[in-house]
Symmetry: C2
């Protein structure tokens, strides 16, 4: 099965909006085993849209169109296609009711042409829009399939995930269900991970296995087409087992949950609280942990101590530590962890200190980072990292590796290259 993705919108051709839909749709279609050889973008121009569709019809079985389903004059996709394919536009009552209800509950008057968003092709299968008003649809004509999707990614993505994929699997690929699972990894690069599981990726056509990098974290998505959900999950379980045998140490969770989310869940489950004293990361670690819900239950506060003076005066890191070992040292990282833990009555204290770069700090080269961890009655420790010369990359890597250290401590997993320090409190 081959597909082509046509994006419609003058704003794309002016560069006002980056087209993320094509990449998203390509990933989703690849997971179904559908091949994509062309992305095409045209403006809000019926003639050029029809030309693009004609061309796609010569190349593929499934044409996915995104954009142009809204209520304004510019939204030409439905009208243009209805004319071209010679199909009637009829009212989709469910969507019409939704539009009326939406406007009743808001202060806005409903513009008359808002109803345009409720029109669908006769004999098409509507695709529900969970996050917006314009209904999507799938039409099959002469063995060729046309999917019409809204342009805004926050409407298109849920429509694809929740309705289009099922539609494709059931009605086009004649399979029963599609099951997919995302596994998340940290601590190696996308290339390293891909190489390690290369045999699994290459030898699989169902389930498919795809590797993506996302801001330092790596995701592996396993997608199975199957008779029923149980069978799909069984097939995925097998692949997951094979992957886990190769990469047990780097796996940290499933689905959408990023490392920070996994830590938050672990802390919540165990009723633990966390705090940090940040130097090179300047608030980024704490900001990550508070960027979502439920932060109040795991965090009462934390500290940014950029200068040596405030590390001593506010955080109470001893002058002895600062003078003897320097602020970029395992000793300072551990003391920052311990003192912040005491100051904020937390179960876990994290100290982050280092040279973000690009210039060196005293003898320390950029990218030198020490992260200290103080956890309840366990012996505090520090771990040394060396990342590189890019300042913001160093800050990000410091935050992520601090989160990973917390995860390993909470799971009692081994941690390499730690520097222990101070009394064993046990």
């Amino acid at each position: 099965m081959k597909a082509e993705i046509i994006s419609i919108g003058t704003e794309l051709l002016l560069g006002h909006v980056v087209n993320t839909n094509s990449a998203f749709l390509s990933r989703e279609l690849a997971a179904l085993g559908v091949e994509v050889y062309h992305h095409v973008t045209v403006g809000d121009n019926p003639e050029r849209l029809v030309d693009a569709i004609k061309q796609a019809e010569q190349r593929v079985d499934l044409i996915v169109l995104s954009g142009g389903l809204g209520p304004t004059e510019d939204d030409i996709t439905k009208k243009t296609l209805a004319n071209y394919l010679d199909v009637d536009l009829i009212l989709h009552e469910e969507t019409e009711n939704k539009i009326i209800t939406y406007h009743k509950n808001s202060d806005f008057n409903m513009p008359e042409n808002n109803q345009l968003q409720a029109l669908i092709f006769a004999d098409s299968r509507p695709l529900t829009n969970d996050t917006g008003l314009a209904v999507g649809m799938m039409l099959t004509q002469n063995n060729r399939h046309y999917a019409l999707l809204p342009g805004p990614p926050d409407e298109l993505e849920p429509m694809v995930e929740n309705y289009l994929k099922e539609e494709i699997v059931k009605h086009i690929l004649d399979e029963q269900v599609l099951v997919s699972r995302v596994m998340r990894f940290f601590g190696l690069t996308e290339a390293q991970l891909a190489e390690k599981i290369q045999d699994i990726v290459v030898n699989q056509s169902n389930p498919t296995v795809a590797v993506y990098a996302n801001d330092g974290e790596i995701t592996v998505r396993i997608t199975a087409k199957a008779e029923n959900e149980e069978q799909g999950n069984e097939a995925i379980d097998e692949i997951e087992k094979d992957i886990m045998e190769i990469l047990p140490d780097y796996f940290f969770g499933y689905g959408d949950k990023r490392l920070a989310d996994v830590i938050k869940d672990m802390l919540n489950e165990r009723s633990l609280t966390i705090t940090a004293a940040e130097s090179l990361t300047g608030g980024a670690f704490l900001s990550d942990l508070t960027s979502d819900l439920s932060a109040g239950s795991i965090l009462e506060g934390g500290l940014i101590t950029y200068s040596a003076d405030k590390k001593n005066k506010v955080l109470k890191v001893t002058k002895e530590t600062i003078n003897k070992f320097g602020v970029v040292s395992p000793e300072c990282a551990i003391e920052m962890a311990e003192k912040s833990r005491a100051m904020f009555d937390a179960d876990i204290g994290v100290g982050l200190t280092g040279v973000a770069g690009p210039s060196s700090l005293k003898d320390q080269i950029p990218g030198t980072v020490y992260i200290g961890i103080a956890y309840k009655d366990k012996q505090s420790f520090s771990k040394h990292f060396h990342f590189g010369y890019k300042r913001n990359r160093n800050r990000r890597l410091a935050v992520q590796n601090a989160l990973e250290l917390v995860r390993r401590v909470l799971k009692d997993m081994p941690i390499e290259n730690t520097i222990f320090y101070g009394e064993d409190k046990k």
Copy 2:
């Protein structure tokens, strides 16, 4: 003049990479008055690439190709085009020397096919790659122009900015120079700003005026084609004057500098230091101010106090304030600003408190935010905001509006809806 953008890369068709080049190139070409009606993406497949080029030749004068200039087998663009256009590939010595020097200075052995990156078409004009190895080029054949650019955005973007635009202006548009200026605004939406300067935007063809939104900040780019730089700048000055007459209050700076950068510059110039006590923003304000160079000179540290208990115990906000007015109050915001300022010996203290949402806090609805400012001997004040229901948007807006408040205070600009509090220190 019409152009078409062809992106080459199987990674784009698999959705592994989002295509940002097409939007970037479209913006740059629009600024030159060049119209773009199609974006097309094909994989690393010579046949489909040639088909795309043939089609573009029927539609436009300038074909911009991105991707496929690297040293691997997949990098088909140069070889495919050389065959198709029947031109010779010759060695570009400057690039060859650069590649040799690069490998001498690194530990890597130079792979033999690395030299492929130094090949250009005979009679083409090379485009220097300031941030990578693969040279770009511009070829004119039968009055049609072909620009070949590298795929990685961090190589393509400087090549376009520094070389391709000049090439287009001088050799294709027969103009002498291209001058452009970016103005930055905060405090209104893209739509509001666009409406206010609509007459200027619509009536201009040279200079062109384009409005973009970028994460809460709005940029206006003015681009002039002119005989020489002076003439170009004069034309831009005039437009800038017109815009400033309409929007004096929202303008905060030029070029790439974001609001946080402008604040950092202002603080550095005046030798002032800043700190903050953050509640709902959880470190995001301080993280923004430390995300770039030179943070050490303007910031010694700061505090995150999420819980009421730590606002009192660590930051020393009085129990009276917390009990009488609540933690989400102008009084608490001001006290957070003043106490953090004292704790970190800073010239400016900022207090951020509010309900990030999505759930309410006591009687306060999500999006309710108070920002307090304590600045030297001036009277401290607080400003009330109401943003909305989206948690992370509320956090971001709180950070940006706090930065804007600091800018206004430093510039002695009027601030509306402030709540004054406490003694006048003068």
